[in-house]
Subunit: 101 residues, 2 copies
């Protein structure tokens, strides 16, 4: 069953296209993480936050990535990380066209 | 630009297929909300939480739905709702195959 990983943290920028340029190389490496399916990159300049919504094939792979990513964010000087791991309700997500593949 | 709405709250169940049966009718109505694109239904029996990841076409529509849904959840006796509204970084999400359409 697909596992959704929800991460966000305080972030002072850069946002938008500057953020995209700063993290493009990192983004490409995420595609190679075990069990990774997709990530939507989230950001809010007004709330000074950023994060991501990830889909992994299993909870084990989601938690392994969370551990790795938390250490990386800490290395960037980022703290106050909020992370939650959820099962996906496939039947309900199918009704609302949720992209869980 | 697509706007991502992230909602979760304490939830004692039902989970899984029982949850799907309890909320199937509600789920169908969400497809008719203004600007709604998709929702992934999230749940965690171990953490006793549930929620959803939504994509809307604009921040205005995402915030209007959040207001409506918060009132509905409160009506179900649910409190402790955590909600965040994010812009989507389209360039980075494209690299990691994020489904933002």
């Amino acid at each position: 069953m697909a596992t959704l990983l929800q991460i966000d943290f305080p972030f002072a920028g850069p946002f938008g296209e500057e953020m995209a340029q700063a993290f493009a190389e990192l983004a490409a490496t995420i595609n190679d993480e075990p069990g990774f399916m997709w990530k939507i990159w989230t950001e809010s300049q007004s709330a000074q936050q950023a994060g991501g919504i990830y889909l992994f094939d299993t909870e084990e792979n989601a938690r392994a990535y969370l551990k790795k990513h938390t250490a990386r964010l800490n290395g960037f000087g980022i703290s106050g990380i909020e992370a939650k791991v959820f099962d996906v309700n496939e039947s309900l997500s199918a009704i609302t066209r949720g992209p869980i593949k």
